[in-house]
């Protein structure tokens, strides 16, 4: 499985990680290696096998519809790099 530059750029964009040309080449070599490893899976017949998402056969528990959390702005706003009037500030979001 070969990774061309465009493919790497596309993945990097989906993951929102900047990657320059030099790094893209390094990453693509490493990724090809890993994919070679992963491709071993294709040799196995898995028709009629159910995928296993969780180790144990348990189902989703429910939570009672009650308000249990309060206002934590004193803590949360302090943790952000930029806030204003209780809002988290980011560069302009364009729709």
């Amino acid at each position: 499985m070969k990774f061309d530059n465009d493919e790497i750029k596309k993945i990097a964009h989906l993951a929102r990680i900047n990657i320059n040309e030099k790094e893209a080449i390094k990453v693509s070599e490493k990724l090809e290696g890993i994919l070679g490893l992963i491709d071993q899976m294709t040799q196995v017949n898995t028709d009629c096998i159910e995928p296993m998402a969780h180790a144990l056969d348990i189902t989703q528990p429910f939570r009672e519809d009650k308000v249990t959390e309060g206002d934590i702005r004193e803590k949360s706003l302090k943790l952000s790099k930029e806030t204003d009037q209780s809002l988290f500030i980011v560069p302009r979001v364009i729709e």
């Binding site: 790497i8 899976m41 096998i49 995928p51 998402a53 949360s76 988290f88 560069p91």
Partner: protein, 484 residues
């Protein structure tokens, strides 16, 4: 205080041989002396630790003493602890002071244990050598030119160097058992769902589990008594009757059936390590166990399956690190896209970025069936292998790691070589089974661990089997020279 077990420490505190404050001071001094050379800790906060020790001393005075009350425990820096910097070994969280306690930390606080400090780890738990941390490599106290294993390298080094009597750690593909093996310690990865993941920074949600890193199985049992239990805040947490892992720890093991998977003893295993494992098997024979050959035919697929599932889940779990609400944010940016892309480029290390890329790729349009779905199917096959095996044995035994501690820098440039470190441990995580590693010998003066894998919720049995081994051998008592 240096070589006392958790039980002995607890008794000494009860008998007022020393106080928690004195005990904490002792270990804080050990940190002052030794941490720089092995870099096991990211954060040490003497004031906080001593304040907790003081509170614990009061608890003891009031007659309110639990097994771990007053005992300093090192906490892997993956557990959110309110008011403590919680970095997960990453620049991305270098400035993050956790606003809440994880359930694990909560449980230790509730019994009055003392937080000795936050231990170093591979960034976001991705690694097998603790060489990917933003805070520098951790060095193995047995030979500081070698790695302690990972991702819980800091916890392992701290306990091995006797900078802490015990530590917490986490295991997604072997991150408790492999460092335990490389550092001559006893470490346990519990059944998936037994220990709450709430507040434990997520790497691969369906595989992550927290567990103890100690010198002995008995100490691990004491830690498990505190760490385990249902948590309504974690939907994947199991609801079952709470167990006391110390109750049956001394039970005789005569008649125990130990399964030896032939796939674990193939070409990849170094002959000297194989010899040590065989010695371990003989020891169990002497103790009355019956040895059975079993097979885990799909074990070789556990690495490719893991390297699809874990990065896929991680790529999604790490999307929240975007610089908006907390954590690292790049300094200069003109627009939102630039802010995201530069923040994540600069905040994450290379291995993390690699895994995010792989994870993003295997989930992307057109590849989901071939990779993620396929991997989940093979995961079931691997799980079925264990089910079948446990029809013929009570516990499975094998190596924990394919090598002893290797030189720093040795495998770093070749991710695939590094990934092979987990070849004996990964299948356990995929199946969700409990696994334990304990010291079984030395090779070139470096520790070699033996792994025990049990059926679901058989931690008490595993700890019992390990304890009996330890009562009859002395490997777990060894310590590296400089840290004695």
């Amino acid at each position: 205080m240096l070589n006392l077990s958790l039980k002995e420490l607890s008794e000494c505190l009860k008998e007022k041989k020393f106080s928690s404050v004195e005990l904490t001071h002792f270990f804080l001094n050990r940190l002052d002396l030794h941490n720089e050379s092995i870099n096991a800790f990211i954060t040490i906060d003497k004031d906080k630790s001593l304040a907790m020790a003081k509170r614990s001393d009061e608890m003891i005075k009031e007659g309110n003493q639990n097994y771990l009350t007053g005992i300093p425990i090192a906490q892997k820096d993956i557990f959110c602890a309110e008011g403590w910097k919680t970095s997960c070994g990453s620049k991305m969280l270098d400035n993050f002071i956790a606003p809440y306690d994880s359930t694990v930390i909560n449980k230790f606080n509730a019994v009055g244990a003392v937080n000795l400090g936050k231990t170093n780890m591979d960034e976001f738990a991705m690694g097998s050598s603790n060489e990917t941390s933003f805070y520098g490599n951790v060095k193995n106290p047995w030979d500081i030119k070698t790695v302690p294993g990972g991702s819980s390298g800091g916890s392992a080094a701290a306990v091995a160097g006797r900078l802490a009597p015990a530590a917490t750690a986490t295991d997604t593909g072997g991150s408790i058992r492999q460092p335990a093996s490389l550092c001559g310690l006893t470490g346990l990865k519990p059944t998936y769902g037994l220990v709450s993941r709430y507040g434990m920074i997520a790497f691969a949600s369906s595989l992550d589990q927290a567990g103890p890193m100690c010198h002995t199985a008995e100490d691990c049992a004491a830690m498990m008594n505190v760490m385990s239990g249902h948590d309504p805040k974690d939907s994947t947490s199991i609801l079952r009757e709470k167990e006391n892992y110390l109750t049956s720890i001394n039970d005789p093991i005569k008649g125990l059936k130990i399964g030896i998977p032939k796939e674990f003893f193939s070409d990849g295993l170094e002959p000297e390590i194989e010899k040590i494992i065989e010695q371990g098997i003989n020891e169990y024979k002497k103790l009355g166990a019956e040895i059975v050959e079993i097979s885990l035919p799909n074990n070789h697929l556990s690495i490719p399956v893991y390297y699809v599932i874990a990065p896929a889940e991680a790529s999604s779990n790490l999307s929240r690190y975007d610089g908006v609400r907390y954590g690292y944010r790049t300094k200069e940016y003109d627009d939102l896209m630039e802010m995201y892309c530069k923040t994540r480029e600069e905040g994450f290390g290379d291995e993390v970025k690699r895994r995010i890329m792989i994870g993003t790729y295997v989930l992307s349009a057109g590849y989901y069936d071939a990779y993620y779905l396929k991997a989940q199917k093979i995961r079931r096959l691997i799980s079925e292998d264990f089910k079948k095996a446990f029809e013929n044995c009570d516990v499975i035994l094998g190596p924990s790691a394919p090598s002893v501690a290797f030189p720093i820098g040795d495998k770093k440039e070749d991710p695939l070589k590094m990934y092979m470190q987990d070849v004996y441990t990964i299948s356990t995580n995929l199946a969700g089974l409990p696994g334990l590693s304990m010291p079984a010998g030395l090779m070139n003066k470096l520790p070699v661990g033996i792994q025990l894998i049990g059926n679901y919720f058989s931690e008490a049995k595993l700890l019992n089997i390990a304890n009996i081994f330890q009562m009859n051998t002395g490997w777990h008592n060894l310590s590296p020279e400089e840290f004695k």
